[in-house]
């Protein structure tokens, strides 16, 4: 027998001015199942809530309807109050007679009639509500961070410093990502390596961080609180435990001309190599494709000179599985291939380079020791033209977005160039100068006012060679003229793009990405570091173009979200989830296919001997987000959504019957 209590709130004047709450209470008292109907001025106040809890106890209510504001406002408030009085919170519903009624109608009679209908519907629903209990999912208290750039590093440190175990997996032999390759960073012109290496070392030494480099995630299975990752540790051919990082091996390696990835192709490295001197871990790996011993069986010099016998040519890839409760993806970015832009002559003319190459060249630890020179003849360029928006804001090339960082780093480049080549002249072709961060605008102004960079608002149509110089043909829209600039060096600010392997990794992890390949957040404004997949979070550039402060902030934010998941031994989830009636399920798999979260699995029902009786669908309560798409699509009505099941909804429809 239902014993439902209904409380109608005046909300001061907000409801009572338009809705005759006393009349509503009178009507409600006659509704089926209602044993208590009362109106009160402020239901959400302390006395109001006490009123409710008293009645719950006195009248042993089996259900509660609070007719007041929107459930989005106070459902939680009243559910908590009811729970405190011993009534299951899911037996509590709110009838929205404020936002949907008193605030939007003027006619008292109409508004009151509507309010009665609304309460009638919610009473009908609550009569059909079932007590639900939070679902407890066990949690592996360990986080996985994929990617060891500045975002991943920040995430790992934040999680570890909060007392939780982290594993940081990085694909390259060293952590550091793109930031390790920068010279100075805007807007402070801090030396990138100087501010980053302490953090890198902290990661390596932190007792709660397990650092694994030269490794990739092959598979991610499971669900929030219970992920299992399959990790491939690539063969290093150098035993990390024996290696002291002395460097004798790469000093003696005879293969000296492998294009260096770290130097963006401007420099070279050896076959056994360390990506950069401050690498963490500071141990070399052998590039099996370039090594003479591994490809031809000759040489073997590094093994000969290694004082600790750390070289192991027999090394193999190892595959391990590890368990985690939360995952943070911080895999970073790539830049557009400059060769796509034939008009700029990249690849044809050696003196046309990309900004990321200029960054390496300018860097003190770079291939030219920080000297700005022309790749063609090693001469110091006296005229450098920087072209912004190469591939960005470009509908024709499929990247209409802005890459966000190029205006700032180009301004930085003009200044660093001028600081090194005092009689040099920098030109920048731009569409806009985007400098929205803290001290950013002032930074770009310095490039113009202190270091004399000439900014030309216009695009470049063609870069071609004339003699030993390059002619950059463009337009200055503010002057309304075509311009031709003789340049010794041309630098292209190529668009930020997702990494080549981003789409494949997204599939492996079960997360989604946008049309460009950047990983998608659950909500662009209010959930910027969560993905649609519970327990998997995002940090840094893998989500889209952003600068270092934002990447660091997102790393901390992702860490906070991950820590929330890992904060207890079990995870409490809202029980508004679907459930299958296995007796009638015919395993048509429509629900499995329809579920946006892949929360429904095939489940084999076996008898005691182990023989298969039938296969049905089964909802993983840990993953189900409670949308109900499965309930609607099921042809046999063998699956329903708790909290919004068919009976409840039909009850509400029935309540409106005019017959």
């Amino acid at each position: 027998m239902a014993r439902i209590g209904v409380f109608i709130c005046w909300c001061g004047e907000n409801i009572a001015r338009t809705v005759d709450v006393k009349h509503v209470a009178q009507e409600v008292a006659t509704m089926q199942g209602v044993v208590h109907a009362e109106d009160y001025r402020y239901m959400c106040s302390e006395p109001g809530q006490r009123l409710i809890t008293d009645v719950i106890r006195e009248k042993r209510l089996t259900g509660l309807v609070v007719a007041a504001c929107s459930p989005q406002m106070h459902e939680r408030t009243f559910r908590k109050a009811a729970e405190a009085a011993g009534l299951n919170p899911y037996l509590v519903e709110m009838a929205n007679i404020r936002e949907h009624c008193s605030w939007v109608h003027d006619d008292r009679e109409e508004a009151t009639a509507k309010a009665v209908d609304i309460v009638r519907m919610m009473v009908a629903k609550v009569r059909r509500n079932e007590a639900l209990y939070p679902i407890a999912v066990p949690v592996t208290k360990r986080a996985l961070v994929i990617g060891g750039g500045i975002a991943g590093i920040e995430t790992a440190l934040s999680i570890a410093n909060a007392g939780t175990e982290v594993m940081l997996v990085e694909k390259e032999p060293s952590i550091g990502g793109r930031m390790a390759g920068l010279g100075e960073t805007f807007p402070t012109l801090d030396c990138s390596q100087c501010i980053m290496t302490p953090k890198m070392v902290e990661v390596a030494q932190h007792p709660r961080i397990t650092l694994i480099t030269y490794a990739e995630i092959e598979k991610l299975e499971g669900y929030v609180g219970n992920f299992t990752a399959t990790i491939r540790l690539k063969a290093r051919y150098v035993e990390a435990s024996k290696c002291t990082g002395c460097g004798a091996c790469f000093e003696k390696c005879p293969v000296k001309k492998v294009p260096s990835e770290f130097d963006q192709g401007l420099g070279v490295r050896t076959a056994i190599y360390r990506p950069f001197p401050q690498a963490v871990p500071n141990k070399p790996v052998i590039d099996s494709k370039s090594c003479l011993k591994l490809t031809k069986g000759t040489c073997g010099m590094c093994a000969k000179v290694c004082p600790t016998n750390a070289i192991d040519y027999e090394d193999k890839d190892r595959v391990v599985t590890e368990k985690f409760g939360a995952v943070v993806v911080a895999t970073g970015f790539d830049v557009a291939q400059a060769a796509e832009f034939g008009e700029y002559g990249y690849g044809k003319y050696p003196d046309v380079i990309t900004s990321i190459q200029f960054e390496r060249m300018e860097s003190a630890s770079g291939p030219t020791g920080g000297k700005i020179v022309r790749p063609s003849d090693g001469v110091e360029p006296k005229s450098v033209v920087f072209i912004q928006c190469v591939g960005s804001r470009d509908e024709a090339k499929g990247r209409p977005y802005c890459s966000k960082i190029c205006c700032m780093y180009t301004a930085k480049h003009t200044m660093l160039y001028k600081h090194k080549v005092h009689d040099g002249q920098a030109y920048v072709f731009y569409i806009d100068v985007r400098a929205g961060g803290k001290a950013y605008e002032e930074f770009t102004r310095r490039a113009v006012e202190e270091d004399g960079a000439v900014y030309l608002r216009g695009r470049v149509s063609h870069v071609y060679r004339e003699g030993s110089s390059l002619i950059v043909k463009g337009v200055d829209t503010l002057a309304g003229e075509q311009v031709e600039i003789e340049a010794d060096l041309v630098v292209l600010a190529t668009a930020v793009t997702p990494r080549k392997e981003a789409a494949a990794l997204a599939q492996t992890l079960g997360i989604s990405h946008d049309t460009y390949g950047f990983y998608s957040e659950a909500h662009p404004k209010l959930r910027p570091v969560e993905t649609a997949k519970a327990g998997v979070f995002l940090a840094g550039m893998c989500q889209g173009p952003r600068d270092i402060p934002e990447s660091v902030a997102s790393g901390s934010a992702a860490a906070a979200k991950a820590l929330a998941v890992l904060s207890d031994d079990t995870l409490q989830r809202e029980p508004v989830v679907s459930k299958v009636i296995e007796a009638t399920c015919a395993h048509c798999r429509s629900c499995i296919t329809a579920c946006p979260y892949q929360a429904i699995e095939d489940y084999e029902i076996r008898d005691r001997k182990g023989s298969l009786i039938k296969v049905v669908a089964r909802v993983n309560e840990g993953v189900c987000q409670g949308c109900g798409v499965c309930a609607t699509i099921c042809r046999s009505k063998s699956i329903d959504l708790a909290g919004f099941n068919d009976r409840q909804i039909y009850g509400q429809i029935d309540a409106l019957s005019k017959h």
Binding site: F341, G342, E343, E466
Partner: protein, 296 residues
Amino acid sequence: MKPLNNSTERIGYFPGCSLASGARDYNESVLAVSAAAGVALVEIPDWNCCGATAAHAVNKQLSISLPARSLAIAAENGFTTIVAPCAACYNRLHGVNRELSEDAGKRAEIEGIISREFKGGLRVINALEYAKEFLMPALAGKIKPLKGLRLAPYYGCLLVRPPEVVQFDDPEDPKVMDAVIGDLGAQAVDWEYKIECCGGGHSLTRTDIVVNLSGAILKAAREANADGIVTACPMCHSNLDMRQLSVMKREGWKTGVPVYYLTQIIGLAIGLDEKALGIRRHFIPAGGLAAKKAAN
């Protein structure tokens, strides 16, 4: 045009207004080398103006209807390949062919205007493709390599742009003509002005623009020590050849750079008569290229 040998495919020939009048030399060279190659080149009956600059600047529908009519007639006459040696005609015909093949609504609209069915199934090629696919293979054995000649391949605008319309070669650094020149034994000069605009149709209304733009191209060709410029567009040829006189006056050049059509160069390589190839019609003396070859 009677085929010399048993080539089975009749290629539809669309000379366009230019080749029928001002660019007679181009027409003569195309016909001469086609005959020598034994290609069955047959003029499309009752072809009309392709619309080029005038129409598409004035009336979009007209600019589509004009070439559509010629294409419809070509299909009716059983052609499957049409060659339009003029780059502007090629651009219009090729573009409209593609558009009407893909857009059923547009096709219906235009069919109503031209009162003809647009059957499609046609391939519109330019002089470079014609040379590469039909002339060169047929003439392979007859070529006397133009060794020592430095020729600057000039593509102009309409052969390679807009890229999504013509989808021909690399729009920033095309190579098809370079390859044909190479196959003729000459050296295709690597220069920066391959695709720079010659000034196009401004020749009459803004001759100063043409003198500037074509002047820059000619200057680059001279600086690259080219023995000649090779083109596949009668407008470009006119601007580079006829207007070169004004450029020479402005720059104080004593001698000019001869400008050839690709088909003329092919003709020279197989030993055809200069007069037959229309080379005597040029403004800038273009004869005796073979002699230059010997001198280099």
